[in-house]
Every structure is written in structure tokens, then in C-alpha cells.
Amino acid sequence: MHELSIVANLFEILEEKAKEKKAKKILTVKLKVGSLSGVIPEFLETAFDIYKKETIASKARLVVEKIPLKIQCQKCHTETVKDDFVFICNQCGSRELKTLSGTELLLEKIEMEVS
């Protein structure tokens, strides 16, 4: 349950960006969360709603885009979306794989109200 501490980091970035852009209010916060990021999107949402009170984002909506784990075989170049975390190519059985996505824990964009 480290989602609250991740949300605390998120608010540090939000406050910094709001100040930089002279925002009055933050309306929407969009995150990209990989299935192998180690965090649970639903817990992030709960933590966000607790944390946002009395901040510039008190009315903000959190949108979490879930990113599946996607790998590319370095032998046969097949790209596969994995939901079982088994790092073996479905096509040729090779274990030489490159992770294309699914580990991210990213603040993608912020929608804000400016004067």
C-alpha cells in the first residue's frame, strides 16, 4: 500500500506545474499506469481523493489509463501483450525479449484552469 506515498509525489509535481503555469485550479489529472508498475490503479484513485482535499486539485478528476505489458521477441520480432507475466515468446518460445510497455508510472497530462 505505497500508493499514498506515490500520490504525495504526484501532488509535489502538480503543485509545481500549477505554480509554473499560474493555474487557478486543476481540473483533470491523467496518469499512465503499467500492469507491471507495482501499483494498483484503484488504490491510487482512493489515495488521490483523500489527498486532494484543500489543495489546488480539490475538485480534480483522476483518470488512470492502464497500460498492458507488451513485449517484443528479439528473435522472431513478434509483439505480444502479456497478462501472465511469463517472459517467453508465445510464437517461438525465445526468452530474449524486450519490454515495450507496461512498467510505466507516469503523469501524462494535467488539465487546468488559468486566468
Binding site: M1, H2, S5, I6, N9, L10, E12, I13, K17, K21, A23, K24, L27, L31, L36, S37, G38, V39, D84, F85, V86, F87, I88, R95, E104, L105, L106, L107, E108, K109, I110, E111, M112, E113, V114, S115
Partner: protein, 223 residues
């Protein structure tokens, strides 16, 4: 009033990552190999460290950073072996963060070979935090069951080595060593695996050999 969309693309754990990189750089410059131990509570991290302390030759110096929610117990056990140890108390937090390790930095002796960090017992949250380590080791004790790698993928995919502990208990707990290794390698083919029993002293020499060769490599790269 108007709406404005700002593209940020910033990592949420970016600040932790930055501090971790600074720690790694500073320790590497001193020729210290840093090893982060991850496991569920009671997997035998402290006992393994005690055994490593007993087995390491006197010309190899080690120190330990202990992470726990409460109590100084683990650090006291390590100090009893004549090894410098610092206890970080997280006061409830389920993992260590790089900034907690950075605070201890002024106290870490420059002549160390190995700095071990024993994370808070938890197979989930610590996996997301780089502490500036060179090696991450995940411990799996036989009473936990051989099905853990796929249940905790992040801990196993981000680790360099898997240490199976308490193998003296394999028969009574019906732990399937082959299955555990196969499953771990399926989710991380690069994992180095060590089969140990701190009680019987088995597998400890091989593990120390791995740490020594990693230390040698680090020093060669930094020479």
C-alpha cells in the same frame, strides 16, 4: 477563465529515482557494492545477513542498513556480529525510499566492500523503489510456498538474484524447488538463483562468491 492542457510526461517516482542514482554514483566512486534485500516478513533476511557476516573473510568489510516499521531489533542482531548497522524506522510505511538511505550517507564508512540494505518485509511495495543498489536480491523462504514468483511479479522481475532460504525445511513444507526456480525464470530469465539454508550453512559460499565477483566487476568498471 480558460482551460489549458499541459503535457507533463513525468515519472511519479522520478524524484526517488534521481536520489537513488546519486547514491549509486557516490557509493560506486568509493568502490562499495550495494545490495538491496527484498522479501516478505520472516523469510530470513536478517539471519542470512548474520550468516554472511560470519562467513565473510575478515579482509572484506560489510555494513548493513536495516529497514523496519518499528524496533531496533534487527540492527542489534547485526551489531552483535561486530558489523556496523543503522536502523531506519519507517513508522508505518511499508517500504524504504532512497531519501531515507541518503540521510545516512555521512555515517557510511568509505572503506566498505559491501553495503547491504535490508528492506521492510513486504514483497509488494519495496519493489517500486530504487535505493541506489547495484544488486537487488529477492528472498523466498520455503514455508511461503513455491508459487510466489508469479504472484509477486514486480519483486521478481526487478531483481538480479533469487535466494531461496530455509531449504532445510523443504521436506516438511513440501516446497518444490524445481517448480519455484522454473516459475521464477519464466518471469525473469536473467535471475541468478541461490539455494540456501542459513541453519545448515549451505549455499552461503556460492552467494558470497557472487557478491565478490560483482564487487570485482564494479571496481574494474570504475577503475
Amino acid at each position: 477563465m480558460k482551460k489549458k492542457e499541459v503535457l507533463v510526461l513525468e515519472e511519479l517516482l522520478g524524484s526517488n529515482k534521481k536520489i537513488a542514482s546519486e547514491i549509486r554514483k557516490k557509493l560506486e566512486d568509493k568502490g562499495i557494492l550495494t545490495i538491496n534485500f527484498l522479501s516478505s516478513p520472516g523469510a530470513g533476511k536478517t539471519t542470512l545477513l548474520e550468516k554472511i557476516a560470519e562467513t565473510l573473510k575478515p579482509d572484506n568489510k560489510m555494513a548493513v542498513i536495516e529497514g523496519d516499521i518499528e524496533t531496533e531489533r534487527d540492527a542489534e542482531r547485526i551489531r552483535a556480529k561486530g558489523i556496523p548497522a543503522w536502523q531506519i524506522l519507517t513508522g508505518g510505511a511499508c517500504h524504504l525510499e532512497a531519501k531515507m538511505v541518503a540521510k545516512l550517507f555521512p555515517e557510511i564508512p568509505a572503506d566498505l566492500d559491501f553495503l547491504f540494505i535490508e528492506n521492510v518485509g513486504n514483497l509488494v511495495c519495496p519493489a517500486s523503489y530504487d535505493l541506489g543498489e547495484n544488486l537487488r536480491c529477492v528472498l523466498l523462504s520455503t514455508p511461503e510456498g513455491d508459487d510466489k514468483p508469479k504472484k509477486y511479479p514486480k519483486a521478481f522481475t526487478t531483481s538480479d538474484c533469487l535466494i531461496i532460504t530455509k531449504t532445510d525445511l523443504v521436506p516438511p513444507v513440501s516446497f518444490n524447488l524445481e517448480h519455484a526456480q522454473k516459475e521464477a525464470l519464466e518471469i525473469n530469465p536473467k535471475l541468478k538463483i541461490f539455494i540456501t539454508s542459513a541453519l545448515k550453512g549451505s549455499g552461503i559460499d556460492e552467494l558470497i562468491e557472487y557478491f565478490l565477483s560483482s564487487l570485482h566487476q564494479l571496481r574494474q568498471e570504475n577503475a
